[in-house]
Amino acid sequence: MILDVAALHKAFGRLEVLKGIDLRVKPGELVFVIGPSGAGKSTLLRCCNRLEEPTSGSIKVEGVDILTPGVDINAIRRRIGMVFQSFNLYPHLDALGNVTLALQRVLKKSRSEAKDIGAAALQRVGLGEKEKAYPNELSGGQQQRVAIARALALEPAILMFDEPTSALDPELVGSVLNVMRELRESGMTMVVVSHEMRFARSAADRVLFMDQGRILEEGAPQKIFNSPEHQRVREFLVSIER
């Protein structure tokens, strides 16, 4: 198991956002998380690298319990790549600088070594010739691909995508999904929160439906999309088909 989440609870004050989540992700698996807004999807991802502190439960990444007091969370975080809805690039650094910052500061790579790795990562997301471009000179799709390269460069064990295409213009979504598809084919383990159902159908190994802090239903995409057990899932799928 790359990721093993058990009985995860998270409350913000009196608001319970996660009410006991169990999730196991095998190497090379692409797990897709869908559900209405407020279901706790983002919070689940953010708990997995402790951007949010879980209230209770256990989270193991590559067998290491990341909630143990005194655990080196920074070492674990670089094993978990994170891609955000709003890209979150550093605006004062160019594309290559965004990708190499953590390589130099965290992994203590030399400048030239970091540059090589960073250039390769940008190449991988199809932005080899955009090394010198600053985030504000890139389209949303390109920015998001830089963000993916930034996560990839650290050679994470698992990549988490938090609505990676929700902030993009429709015609730019494809470029990001193509990169994600290529990553999946290369065997990257991924957890994706997204509303790109067509992508889920064709690329996901497993789809989770979350509602009100619980996993209501999970299974192969064909099962979830074609014959869901719960009325709630059916309603949701209809509502987003429009």
Partner: protein, 151 residues
């Protein structure tokens, strides 16, 4: 006109005091450099400390900074040089001036760096943290580049 020139353009008097004025200028330059270094360094340190958001420490920082920004620097200098000796703390004129002005600059620069820290969107912290940069790395790198002083 003769009296005016005698009072304000008296070359003999000017020549007599010019060396002392130059001496004073040199003192001012050295003092300014020492104040700038100490004040900005301490201000940066305090703003980073404040970013950890320990309640007790922050109450103290905010209080100290507000007081130091509100008091006229001259009052602080005079208090250090003339009042503190009554409490048994004796400083030379140079040290008391340096200390007083450094504290004032510390207070102002802390606010400037703090503004820089607040100006960085939350998502950037999260991106930095999720690539494994430590708390200090994320707080020290960005504020300096983004605050009005660092730019």
């Amino acid at each position: 006109m003769g009296r005016f020139a005698d009072t304000f353009l008296n070359w003999a008097v000017m020549a007599q005091y010019a060396p002392r004025i130059l001496e004073g200028t040199w003192v001012t330059i050295r003092l300014a450099l020492a104040v700038a270094i100490a004040g900005i360094a301490c201000g940066l340190f305090l703003s980073v400390l404040r970013a950890f958001r320990f309640r007790a420490i922050n109450v103290f920082i905010v209080f100290a900074v507000d007081v130091l920004r509100a008091l006229p620097p001259l009052v602080i200098i005079i208090a250090f040089y003339f009042a503190l000796p009554a409490l048994g703390v004796r400083m030379s004129a140079w040290v008391s001036t340096w200390l007083a002005l450094s504290l004032v600059l510390m207070a102002f620069s802390e606010e400037i760096f703090w503004a820089g820290i607040l100006a960085v969107p939350r998502g950037q912290w999260e991106a930095a943290r999720s690539t494994g940069l430590s708390f200090l790395q994320t707080r020290c790198g960005s504020p300096f580049r983004r605050s009005p002083i660092g730019r």
